[in-house]
Amino acid sequence: MTEPVLEMKGISKEFSGARALVGVDFRLFPGEIHALMGENGAGKSTLIKVLTGVYHPDAGQVTLDGEVVRITSPLQAQKAGISTVYQEVNLCTNLSVAENVFLGREPRRMGAIHWARMRSDAAQLVRRVGLELDVSAPLGSYPLAIQQLVAIVRAVAISAKVLILDEPTSSLDRSEVEQLFAVMRRLKEQGVAILFVTHFLEQVYEICDRVTILRNGALVGEHMVAELERKRLVQLMIGKALGELEELTEHIRPAVGKAMIRAEGLGRNGAIAPFNLDVHAGEVVGLAGLLGSGRTEVARLLFGADHADSGKVLIDGEPANLRTPNAAIERSIAFCSENRRAEGLVPELSVRENMILALQAARGWTRPLSTEKRDELVARYMKALDIRPSNPDLPVSSLSGGNQQKVLLARWLITQPRLLILDEPTRGIDIGAKTEIQKLVVELSEGGMAVLFISAELEEVLRLSHTIGVLRDRQLVSQIANAPEINADRIMEIIASGAPA
């Protein structure tokens, strides 16, 4: 076997006390496509940022072509031969394709940009990856998939040693992925080492030679893809749930009667394939699946945060048009986004204000909550959810992650929803808060609330759900009733194989 073109040894990185990477090793051989896999918080993006010079590691060294290098900036990484293509295309859509390929390295004649040569050179480079484009057209006039390929053309034109593709396929359709893979294979033949980050298992098995798996900032293993079973891969990524959780009381209760909410063929292009889903009053439906499998997309469609382009939603058997969050809220649906910072909290506002926001929005500005009513509600929910510190006047940004999550939960509970959608409510919060939130879900469902519970942790989904929906590669592939014989193993099998149970 040849020498690796890139080698990272013992890479560690800490962010204000939180360890993002712990002694991670990684190597990349020329002419291979190497998948980097892991769930949220596994450390993938930190590792890539170290490699591209965005972050500087606290420990460890990077070797490129047998020489130790210190990567200090994205520009320097590029010069050293490491180029990155990100999920969101980081090119300028207002410039032409040719300009994007050559920005900063324009061919010149007597000091002036030589446009004719730039265009012909660009056309040649584009053709080399099997594309036919009008290189003088603005990049923005092409679909995202082509923009991504142009980004790859640029990256390769600058330096052809190591190419990092960071989730390039997450918004491409099947034929576009084919196109991308064709380009990747060509580059592989030319000896380029490609680091490929993706959430799609199928794609790993289709195109990758080797896979490195991270979990909680540590290296779990490096395997040849051909030698690694799918189920084993899923197990390595998800790992064992952290123990230490308090036992929950049994709350298995079969769902009966008409569904509180039913989705029929609901789907959205590029986000989630059409699916059917029922949630009954008093029922907890858990959604399991890897990151990027379409979990969040299901939730967003049911809340009207995104527009569905197929299918319909029935509430109590009546068709409901959920085109906006407003429409969903009027139907007593609540949605706690996984992205607390961007889509949940209003950081400047106080805990109290954040808590009553949804109720107040529903009432409109002319009907403010009375001070007594407001304080009573806030006090009740702060106590019920044990939000600390118990001072409602603090800005919500000063609270810990777990308490911020509770504030958001309280915000929706105050509206007394019939369907509560929780997207990763326990992510990034401490064990204590986690158990409390789980207990709360049980209590709420026992009180008759329908709950859609999304979590990356299978154990948690298994503990809480009456019914489990399994997602894989943007499809709801299976819905099974929870029973004692269903365990994490079984779910992982479904995720790995895609076979409905």
Partner: protein, 323 residues
């Protein structure tokens, strides 16, 4: 179906059509509207053209500069003060005010980039500062009697058909040519467009963002001061309230010329068209006689609205459906 490149030029095409229509109707309607009237467009709007060129750089890069008029006004006052009250050599003074304008732009650019303060606020401070300094120098205008200045101001070139054009108008056109070359044929120009397209992308693509941003505001400062110098040639005096609102006229001309206010798309030739339309509005109202000067503002405002809505429509259609 329009090609994307066509669609991008649509506002400029609309402006060009509008300009031609205005000129033709002017020619048919007013007997006095002749070739000289066209040259007068350049002569009377040379300073606006130069100021708008500077604004084009800034807007292309995704920023905004409110200090244009104030810097221009200060340049006339400071130059007049140095020449008349201090007896300095006039050509040297012109170089000095150009340098001051450039430096002022550079400093504002530095504040915007390094202190991460919004361009709006930084250049607002610039506006206050330079407009205030005008009045600190003098409340009243200072008239300049200097042979060099008078020489340039009165220099005219005879053109065929009994028409003529001033040296100042020539200078303005020369500035336009240089700006067009810089934006189209120099790397700096492409970097300005890249910056306006997406600062984040530009940074990742290796564009020296800090240098480019500083340079853009320096160019704007230089052009503002240059516009002030052309003012001096135009009226042969310094005046503390000259150029009030010039930045708005410049921004309006830039937008009417097809440059997106969000940055990244547009050309200085479009800006020229915008300035000429602006000038034609004034000329026609002048010829019309019955219509008063305030119609210029209303008309320019309406054009601004029309073009902003047009831009909005284009952007809305260009953006692919969100993923």
């Amino acid at each position: 179906m329009m090609s994307p490149a066509m669609r991008r030029r649509l506002p400029a095409v609309v402006t060009a059509t509008l300009l031609v229509a205005m000129i033709v109707s002017g020619y048919l309607r007013y007997p006095k509207f002749d070739g000289q009237a066209i040259y007068d467009l350049f002569i009377d709007n040379g300073f606006l053209l130069v100021a708008a060129i500077g604004a084009t750089f800034v807007i292309l890069s995704g920023g905004i500069d409110l200090s244009v008029g104030a810097v221009a006004g200060f340049s006339t006052m400071f130059a007049a003060w140095l020449i008349v009250r201090q007896g300095w050599t006039s050509w040297l003074v012109i170089l000095i005010v150009l340098a001051i304008g450039t430096l002022a732009g550079l400093l504002m650019g530095a504040a915007i980039h390094y202190l991460e303060i919004q361009p709006f606020i930084v250049t607002l401070a610039g506006l206050f500062l330079f407009r205030g300094l005008c009045f600190v120098i003098d409340d009243n205008s200072i008239s300049i009697r200097d042979p060099f200045i008078a020489g340039i101001a009165e220099a005219r070139f005879q053109l065929p058909g009994g028409t003529s054009i001033t040296l100042s108008a020539f200078i303005a056109i020369a500035v336009l040519a240089v700006a067009a070359y810089v934006l189209h044929y120099m790397r700096f120009g492409r970097q300005v467009y890249a910056l306006g397209g997406s600062e984040q992308s530009a940074l990742l693509m290796g564009v020296p963002v800090a240098r480019t941003k500083l340079a853009v505001y320096a160019v704007s400062g230089f052009c503002s001061a240059f516009a002030g110098v052309l003012y001096i040639f135009y009226i042969q005096s310094g005046d503390p309230s000259i150029g009030v609102g010039l930045e708005l006229d410049a921004i309006a001309a830039v937008v009417i010329g097809g440059t997106l206010l969000t940055g990244g798309t547009g050309t200085v030739l479009g800006t020229l068209l915008g300035v000429l339309v602006f000038g034609m509005v004034k000329t026609i109202l002048n010829f019309e006689g019955t219509l008063s000067s305030w119609w210029v503002r209303i008309f320019v405002g309406s054009l601004l609205l029309a073009f902003i809505l047009l831009q909005r429509l284009m952007v809305a259609r260009k953006t692919p459906a969100p993923a």
